[in-house]
C-alpha cells in the first residue's frame, strides 16, 4: 500500500537532521474561532512527508482537549485510542508508566493534571535566527493560541547527555523503500490506516480525520548526568580508592548496552570500537543469550530486545513479536551538552547539577498501548523483565519494592550492583495526535 506522503506530516519520515535548531511549543487554544482561522492559514505551511525543507519546518499535533475546542464532537473523540483520550497523566497510568515519586505528574512542569495543553507546535529551522523568525511568522497575536511552555532543544547532535550515541536502532518504514538493514517495519505501526505487523489495517478514528495521522508521545526526561557518572565511578573504585576510568566507562556501557561511540556491546564486548558506531544489524540470541556481552537488563537490550525473547529466541517468530513493539523516535536533547572528554575523564565538575538537561523524548506510534506503553511498562519498568529480579531499566525505571539492582553477567559469577539511584526524572509529557494535512484543514473548517 503506497503511503500518501503529501498528506502525512513530515516528522513521520524524517527527524529533520538538516535543521539543527528546534523548539517545541506546548500551547493552549484560548480562542477557538481565532485558532481555527489560524489553523486554516498555517495548514498549508505544515511540512508534509513529501517536502525536503532546507530552511524551516512546522508540524502540528493536538491533545483531545485541543480537538474538542476546535469543535470535534464527543462521539468522534471517543473513537480515538483510549490511552489518548484519557491522557498520559491519568491516575491509573502513573504506576505502569513509572510516573511516581519525583516523576509524578503532579510535579510536572507541564502536562500535569488540569494543565491547559491543547496543541504542540514542532518547529525546526537551520539555525536559531531562522527558528525565531519561523516562530514569529507562525504565531501572531491573532492566532488564538497561547504558548504555555516553549521547550528549547540543544543544537542537534547524535548523542544524548550521558555521552552515548543515540537513535541508532531506528525502525525503518517498509513502504519508504529498501531498508538499510534487514528488518523493516510496516507503515501501519506508525501511521493510521495502513497495514501493520499483524497484516491488519491500523484503526482509523473519527472517520477520515484519523487517516494518515499518528499518535505522538512526548515526555520531557531530565537526566542526572552527574549522578550517573558518579554512580559508575563509585561502583568501580579500585581497592585503594583510586578512580578506575576504564572500569567506570565499562560499567556505564553495561548499563546502556552500547559504548559511548554507539558500538553495541553485543558486537564489541571488550572495548569501544567506533567503527561499529552505527551497527544495527545484529541479534542477541546466537552470540549472547546469557548477556555476558550485553547485560539482559541494559537499557538498549530491553527497549529493543530484537531476537532475544519468547516464544523462540533466535528465530523469526521472536523477531516478528519484537516488530510489534517498535517506536519511531523523533526527540531531541535539551540543556547544555557536556564535552565527551569531560564526561569520560576523571573528576566531575561541580556546576553540572545546576542546569537542567535531558531529552525531549518524542515517539510516533500507531498504537499507544501496544507500542509505547508496552515498551515502557513491560520492558523498561518491569523489575522482572526477561526473568530478572528487582531490576527495572537501570537508567530510567522506577524503584521496585525490593530496591533497584543491576546484574552484569560475568564468569564465573555475575557482578551485582544494588541501590542504584534513578538517573532520569520525568518533568512533563502528554499524548498528542499528529493529524494528516487534510485533517488539519478539516479541523479548521469545523463549526463552532
Amino acid at each position: 500500500m503506497t503511503l500518501e506522503l503529501a498528506d502525512i506530516q513530515g516528522l513521520v519520515v524524517r527527524g529533520y537532521g538538516k535543521l539543527a535548531a528546534a523548539r517545541y511549543l506546548v500551547a493552549e487554544l484560548t480562542d477557538a474561532q481565532l485558532a481555527k482561522r489560524w489553523l486554516e492559514r498555517v495548514a498549508g505551511q505544515v511540512d508534509s512527508a513529501q517536502g525536503r525543507p532546507e530552511a524551516r519546518a512546522v508540524n502540528l499535533a493536538f491533545t483531545p482537549s485541543g480537538l474538542a475546542k476546535l469543535g470535534l464532537g464527543a462521539g468522534a473523540l471517543s473513537s480515538f485510542a483510549e490511552e489518548f483520550v484519557s491522557g498520559m497523566a491519568a491516575p491509573f497510568r502513573h504506576a505502569p508508566l513509572g510516573d511516581v515519586e519525583e516523576s509524578a505528574p503532579e510535579r510536572w512542569e507541564w502536562g500535569a493534571p488540569g494543565d491547559p495543553v491543547d496543541l504542540l507546535v514542532l518547529l525546526f529551522a537551520r539555525d536559531e535566527d531562522e527558528l525565531r523568525a519561523a516562530e514569529a511568522d507562525l504565531l501572531g497575536p491573532d492566532a488564538g493560541v497561547r504558548v504555555v511552555r516553549a521547550l528549547d532543544t540543544s543544537p542537534l547532535e547524535d548523542r544524548e547527555h550521558f555521552g552515548f550515541r543515540d537513535g541508532v536502532a531506528q525502525p525503518w518504514i517498509e513502504e519508504l523503500g529498501p531498508a538499510p538493514f534487514p528488518d523493516s517495519i510496516k507503515a501501519g505501526e506508525f501511521v493510521l490506516g495502513y497495514p501493520n505487523e499483524y497484516g491488519l489495517l491500523t484503526d482509523v478514528p473519527a472517520g477520515e480525520l484519523g487517516r494518515n495521522g499518528s499518535y505522538l508521545v512526548f515526555r520531557q526526561l531530565s537526566q542526572d548526568v552527574q549522578g550517573f557518572w558518579a554512580f559508575c565511578e563509585e561502583a568501580t573504585l579500585r581497592p585503594d580508592g583510586a578512580v578506575d576510568e576504564a572500569a567506570r566507562t565499562r560499567l556505564a556501557a553495561k548499563l546502556v548496552g552500547r559504548w559511548p561511540s554507539g558500538a553495541p556491546l553485543a558486537l564489541a564486548p571488550d572495548g569501544d570500537r567506533p567503527e561499529l558506531a552505527t551497527a544495527n544489524d545484529f541479534g542477541y540470541h546466537a552470540e549472547d543469550a546469557a548477556g555476558l556481552r550485553c547485560p539482559v537488563g541494559s537499557h538498549v537490550r530491553r527497549s529493543n530486545p530484537r531476537d532475544s525473547l519468547d516464544p523462540d529466541p533466535g528465530s523469526r517468530r521472536s523477531i516478528a513479536v519484537n516488530k510489534r513493539h517498535r517506536l519511531l523516535r523523533r526527540g531531541r536533547t535539551y540543556g547544555p551538552l557536556l564535552a565527551r572528554d569531560e564526561l569520560l575523564s576523571a573528576g566531575a565538575p561541580g556546576e553540572w547539577r545546576d542546569e537542567d538537561r535531558g531529552l525531549h523524548f518524542i515517539c510516533l506510534v500507531g498504537n499507544i498501548a501496544r507500542q509505547f506503553e508496552f515498551v515502557q511498562r513491560t520492558w523498561i519498568n518491569s523489575p522482572r523483565f526477561a526473568g530478572l529480579y528487582d531490576a527495572p531499566d537501570p537508567l530510567m525505571g522506577p524503584e521496585p519494592p525490593g530496591g533497584r539492582t543491576f546484574t552484569v553477567p560475568a564468569l564465573p559469577v555475575r557482578e551485582r550492583y544494588t541501590g542504584l539511584p534513578r538517573f532520569v526524572t520525568v518533568r512533563g509529557g502528554a499524548y498528542f495526535f499528529l493529524p494528516g494535512i487534510r485533517a488539519l484543514r478539516y479541523l479548521a473548517s469545523l463549526a463552532d
Partner: protein, 432 residues
C-alpha cells in the same frame, strides 16, 4: 511475600483447582460488595483473609457474578465464587479454610443462600464442600511444584545472592565456585531442605497420571478411524456456524477499561477473570466440551513444565463451566500487564485461544476453529476487555515472583544436588 516459617522440606503434591459457588441472598449484593472491598482494602493474605497461614494455597480469589439474563432470556441470579489453586489434598484445604478463614467466610458466604446461621468450622466446611464445582480445564505452570516449595526456593536464591555479594575472592573455576555455594547452603540450618531435590507428588498419583495418558493415547488411536470419518462433516458444520454467527466489533465502555486498568499492578502478576455465554445451539455445546477436554488433556500431559507453547508467564489458568454449560468463566494468574497478556495470547497461543473462546458469543470470527479470531488484534482486545470482570479479592502466595523467577529459583535449587561438569556449573551459576 511472607518468608516461609517452616524449614522442613515441602511435601510432594499435585495441584488442584478449587471452585465454590453460592447464590447471593436477595438484596444482599451491596453488602457483599462492601465486604469484599473491605477484605481487599485490608490486603488479602492478612487477618481478614488469612491465606498466608494456609501454605497449600498458591492463589485465591473471591468474585461476584452479577445477576444476568442469558441469550435465551433466562435469568441467572447473582452469585459469589471462590476460586483457589492449591496443593493436594483438597480435604486439608477445606478444613483449614473453614477453620482459619472463618471470619472471611462468614462475612462473604454468610450473605449467600443456605449458609449455616451459627456456623462452626465443620458447618462451614460442609457448606463449602456441598457447593464445590468441577473445573473442566486447568493449566498449571509446573505440575508438582508446591506453594511452600516456591516460597522456600525464593528464600534460597536470595540467600545465595547475598552470599555471592559478600564473597571476596571466589575461585575462577565454576565447579569450585559451586562447591563454595553448596558449602554455604549446608552451613545454614534454615536451608537444610535445599540440599535435597524437591519432592515429587506421591507415586500412586504419578502412576495414575501415566495410566491416564496411556488410556488417552489408546483411546484416540482406537477412535481415529471414526474421527477421520466424522471430521469432514464436523468441519463443514463448523464453517457453516462460523459464517452464520454474528461477530460485531463492539468497543468496551471506556469507564470499564479505566476501572480495570486501575486495578492492575497489584503485584508481579495479576488475576484475570473473564466470563461469557456459550453460543446457542447443540453444535457449540459439543464443541466447547471437546475443546475443553483437549485443552485439559494437553496441559495435564504436554504443557507441564513452565512453558505453554512459548508463553512462560502464566502461573495457573482454568476454564470453569457454569449454569448448565450456558456460561464459561476463564481465570488465570499471569505476569505483567493485561496488554502484554493479550499480546502473548495473540502472538503465541492464538490457536488454543481461538479454539476455546470462539465458542463464546461475540468472539471475532474464526476460520476452522483455529485461525483468524484473536489475530484480529483490536477486535479481539476489545472483545476480551468487554468480557473481563473485576476480581474483587485476590491473594498470591508469592506476589513478587514472575513465573520465570519461580522456574529459575527451582533450577538454582536443583543445581545444588549431584555433580556437575564445568559447562554445567557455568550454566548453573548464570542463573544467579
Amino acid at each position: 511475600m511472607v518468608p516461609p516459617r517452616d524449614p522442613r522440606p515441602a511435601r510432594g503434591a499435585h495441584q488442584l483447582a478449587v471452585a465454590v459457588r453460592a447464590p447471593v441472598q436477595t438484596g444482599r449484593l451491596p453488602a457483599l460488595r462492601a465486604a469484599l472491598a473491605a477484605i481487599d482494602a485490608a490486603r488479602p493474605g492478612t487477618a481478614t483473609f488469612p491465606f498466608a497461614d494456609l501454605d497449600e494455597v498458591h492463589f485465591a480469589r473471591l468474585l461476584v457474578l452479577d445477576d444476568d439474563t442469558d441469550p435465551d432470556g433466562r435469568p441467572i441470579p447473582a452469585s459469589l465464587l471462590y476460586l483457589s489453586e492449591i496443593d493436594a489434598p483438597l480435604a486439608r484445604h477445606l478444613e483449614r479454610l473453614a477453620d482459619r478463614g472463618g471470619a472471611a467466610l462468614d462475612a462473604t458466604f454468610g450473605l449467600c443462600e443456605g449458609y449455616p446461621p451459627a456456623p462452626d468450622a465443620e458447618a462451614r466446611r460442609r457448606y463449602l464442600d456441598a457447593r464445590r464445582l468441577p473445573s473442566q480445564a486447568t493449566y498449571v505452570n509446573t505440575i508438582g511444584r508446591t506453594a511452600l516449595q516456591i516460597r522456600q526456593e525464593a528464600q534460597l536464591r536470595e540467600a545465595i545472592e547475598g552470599f555471592l555479594d559478600a564473597a571476596d575472592d571466589l575461585p575462577a573455576d565454576p565447579v569450585a565456585v559451586r562447591t563454595e555455594v553448596q558449602r554455604f547452603v549446608r552451613s545454614r540450618p534454615d536451608l537444610a531442605w535445599a540440599t535435597r531435590r524437591a519432592r515429587r507428588p506421591p507415586l500412586p498419583w504419578r502412576a495414575r497420571e501415566q495410566l491416564h495418558l496411556l488410556a488417552v493415547v489408546v483411546g484416540l488411536t482406537l477412535l481415529s478411524p471414526l474421527i477421520l470419518v466424522v471430521l469432514p462433516v464436523y468441519a463443514l458444520l463448523l464453517r457453516l456456524h462460523e459464517i452464520r454467527e454474528p461477530a460485531p466489533h463492539l468497543r468496551p465502555d471506556p469507564e470499564h477499561v479505566r476501572a480495570l486498568a486501575a486495578r492492575e499492578d497489584r503485584a508481579a502478576h495479576s488475576p484475570f477473570s473473564a466470563i461469557g455465554y456459550v453460543k446457542p445451539g447443540p453444535f457449540r455445546r459439543v464443541t466447547v466440551r471437546l475443546v475443553l477436554w483437549l485443552l485439559h488433556t494437553a496441559s495435564r500431559h504436554v504443557f507441564t513444565r513452565a512453558n505453554l507453547s512459548g508463553i512462560k508467564t502464566i502461573h495457573f489458568a482454568r476454564w470453569l463451566v457454569l449454569d448448565d454449560w450456558r456460561r464459561v468463566i476463564f481465570t488465570s494468574n499471569y505476569d505483567g500487564s493485561l496488554e502484554s497478556y493479550m499480546n502473548d495470547f495473540i502472538d503465541k497461543v492464538w490457536y488454543g485461544l481461538n479454539a476455546s473462546f470462539s465458542n463464546g458469543v461475540g468472539f471475532p470470527k474464526t476460520r476452522f476453529l483455529l485461525f483468524a479470531g484473536s489475530r484480529q488484534e483490536q477486535q479481539f482486545k476489545d472483545y476480551l476487555r468487554r468480557r473481563t470482570i473485576d476480581t474483587q479479592v485476590w491473594y498470591s502466595a508469592y506476589d513478587r515472583l514472575s513465573a520465570l523467577n519461580v522456574e529459575n529459583n527451582a533450577l538454582v535449587r536443583s543445581g545444588l544436588c549431584g555433580s556437575m561438569s564445568r559447562t554445567d556449573a557455568r550454566t548453573w551459576l548464570a542463573r544467579l
